[in-house]
């Protein structure tokens, strides 16, 4: 696999996403330019044809999402990249991919919103949109990198999870990570695990396109491979045929959830830093986690038992892991570039056992380590005096 970059090099976050996606076998990209994700489209346009892959700039994000689903159904791993406004436009078809169980990856390099906002400024305002952006109760997996190298690794993981579970996976970046340049050493070719969708093991005549295996995931035949079947966003039976039968509808939506929620150990990854004896736990993700790490270091130097909990998978939310923290911590701080979107989930998980405070910033600038450090000091004093 000479198509995987091997050397240490200075790389931008968006570029790392492209290289990771290519290493995972992505050979189709459809997109529409939008800051701060555009480099992903530009690099894909340059890199894909040389690998026998395809790039297309569609007329809008709705069409990009549709084309990606079409390509995936034809058997080619496919990815699209966008930012806030474009992410909103993609939502209906993301729901389609969830319903029809078509693997695909959507990169959202978040920018300040709502609306056109500040196109070049970072934010983390799409945490809830990533989870609940399309209508209906749909499962989705959302991953959140905090470094350039991790953007590469998570791009691979996003593709793998989407293939394994036949689900749209969202790589939720922020402008800081997307545009940051870091020196990275990437795994050598062959060192990364690449997962392919499960193929049917039966003859076409015996194929039920939506009959799940033991893992809840139905084997997937690609269009053109001899298994002729029907795909629809309507509620469908195991044959793929539309129905309004309430039992079939309920079974379907529950299975769509189960196939993810029965595998949380596989789907959820988190990172802890100095958590073992932490009395103050900072929860942060994406670029903010970098400031948080420095704040934790400084707090430790000042004799405060602080630690960092960083969800890498933010959806499904690592509820169990956060609940665990609440047993030992005296205070939890959630730092994020929004007005408390993930904080609500943290509160839900800790169930009032510990006080949760937010460090929030919404002026288009990254939260700094000293803001988090002051918050750590503040809750420490509060805890001592209270």
């Amino acid at each position: 696999m000479s198509d995987v970059v091997e050397m240490a090099r200075l790389m931008q976050g968006n570029e790392a996403v492209v290289e990771g996606a290519l290493a995972a076998g992505v050979r189709f990209f459809a997109g529409y330019p939008i800051t701060p994700s555009t480099e992903i489209a530009e690099l894909m346009a340059e890199r894909l044809p040389g690998l026998g892959g395809k790039f297309i700039q569609m007329e809008d994000e709705i069409a990009s999402m549709a084309a990606v689903i079409g390509a995936s159904l034809a058997g080619v791993k496919a990815l699209t990249a966008t930012s806030g406004p474009g992410f909103s436009l993609k939502q209906e078809n993301i729901g389609y991919a969830a319903m029809a169980e078509i693997p695909c990856v959507i990169v959202n390099v978040q920018r300040w919103g709502p609306s056109t906002g500040i196109p070049t400024a970072p934010a983390q305002g799409d945490v809830m949109q990533a989870r609940w952006g399309t209508h209906g109760d749909h499962p989705v997996i959302v991953l959140c990198p905090a470094s350039v190298r991790e953007a590469y690794m998570l791009a691979i993981r996003a593709v793998n999870l989407s293939e394994k579970y036949r689900v749209p996976v969202i790589l939720l970046m922020d402008e800081v990570i997307g545009h940051m340049r870091e020196r990275v050493i990437l795994p050598r070719a062959g060192e990364v695990e690449v997962i392919e969708r499960k193929k049917p093991a039966v003859e076409p005549k015996d194929y039920y396109p939506y009959r799940p295996g033991d893992d809840g995931v139905p084997p997937m035949a690609n269009f053109g491979d001899g298994y002729r079947y029907h795909v629809t966003g309507l509620v469908h039976d195991e044959k793929g045929n539309p129905t309004t039968d309430p039992q079939v509808a309920e079974n379907l939506i529950l299975r769509l959830h189960r196939k993810i929620y029965d595998h949380l150990d596989d789907v959820i990854t988190v990172e802890g830093y100095q958590l073992e004896d932490a009395e103050v736990v900072v929860v942060a993700y994406g670029a903010v986690a970098r400031s948080a790490k420095r704040a934790v270091k400084d707090a430790r130097a000042a004799g405060i038992k602080a630690g960092l909990f960083r969800p890498v998978t933010i959806w499904p939310f690592p509820e169990k892991e956060v609940a665990e923290l609440a047993r030992q911590a005296r205070a939890v701080i959630v730092a994020e570039m929004n007005l408390g979107q993930l904080k609500g989930e943290v509160e839900r998980a800790v169930q009032g056992r510990v006080r949760v405070t937010g460090v929030n910033r919404l002026n288009g600038e990254l939260i700094t380590f000293d803001e988090i450090l002051s918050a750590i000091k503040e809750v420490t004093t509060d805890a001592q005096s209270g």
Binding site: P49, A66, G70, F223
Partner: protein
């Protein structure tokens, strides 16, 4: 012939959902006969549709069938065709599907001249949602959302397709089902974006409200209104008012999108790693 048609249908899916007198079944069988005549391998044939009464046709066909979201069928089909150009892809859309919510995708698919065969079921109305006016509802006609008569001008699908860059444009009515079949065959053989407009009756959502009678009477109306391209050449614009010109309307030459992309691959493959 009938049995050949049947072999491409998912017979377990019948009875179909369409109302008595609906023209959608006529378009569906013309398509099946056309695919039979083209001799396409069913395993390599893809039918993509949008959302609407007409788009339900995909589910009755024993090919690789994809029933997508409202207006987006061409965008899904573009992904399939570009990913796997060896597949033969038909795209079925309603008039609202193709020219209202999907209007943008329609003109861009035409502009790219991507090798898809689009069949637009034009019943002049939003059938599925119960008879609201579409961009193809003629001025003055009534719809649930145009209770005092439609004041919007309608598109000419053929002119729109031609202007946007389609390289094959044709029109027939469900009364002229054999012609429709032949036009679909010719459109599929065109290596580029082909548009076949099928004028079809929605007696329930459109005909009744506009006093056009039942399905049969609407078919006869199609017969009355239709003039062939040849006949139309001898008629004045006044005589052609309200007439439906049927037949092959336009053929153009342009490079096809997926073939152009294959050339880029041939030029860059193995380089630029």
């Amino acid at each position: 012939m009938l049995s050949q048609v049947e072999s491409h249908l998912r017979s377990d899916r019948f009875p179909h959902i369409w109302c008595p007198g609906c023209g959608n079944g006529i378009v569906l069988s013309a398509l099946v006969r056309a695919i039979e005549e083209l001799g396409y391998d069913p395993d390599k044939t893809v039918v993509v549709s949008g959302i609407g009464c007409s788009s339900r046709a995909a589910g009755y066909l024993d090919f690789n069938t994809l029933h997508t979201t409202h207006g987006r069928a061409l965008a899904f089909a573009t992904g399939i065709k570009l990913a796997r150009p060896e597949l033969d892809v038909f795209v079925l859309m309603g008039d609202g599907d193709a020219t209202a919510i999907g209007g943008n995708h329609f003109i861009h698919a035409a502009r790219r001249n991507i090798d898809l065969t689009a069949i637009i079921f034009n019943n002049s109305i939003y059938g599925m949602t119960g008879g609201q006016y579409s961009p193809l509802t003629p001025p003055g006609k009534r719809a649930t959302t145009a209770p005092y008569g439609n004041i919007e001008r309608s598109f000419d699908i053929a002119e729109l397709a031609k202007g946007a860059g389609a390289t094959y444009v044709a029109r027939a009515t469900t009364y002229h089902a054999t012609m429709l079949e032949k036009l679909i065959v010719a459109g599929a053989r065109n290596k580029g974006f082909s548009v076949i407009e099928a004028i079809t009756a929605c007696p329930v959502g459109y005909g009744r409200r506009n006093k056009m009678g039942n399905g049969l009477q609407m078919l006869l109306w199609q017969k009355e209104q239709a003039v062939t391209v040849k006949q139309a050449e001898k008629m004045s614009p006044e005589e052609l008012q309200d007439k439906i010109i049927i037949g092959e309307l336009y053929r153009g030459e342009a490079p096809e999108y997926t073939a152009m992309y294959e050339e880029i691959i041939a030029r860059t493959k193995g380089k630029n790693q």
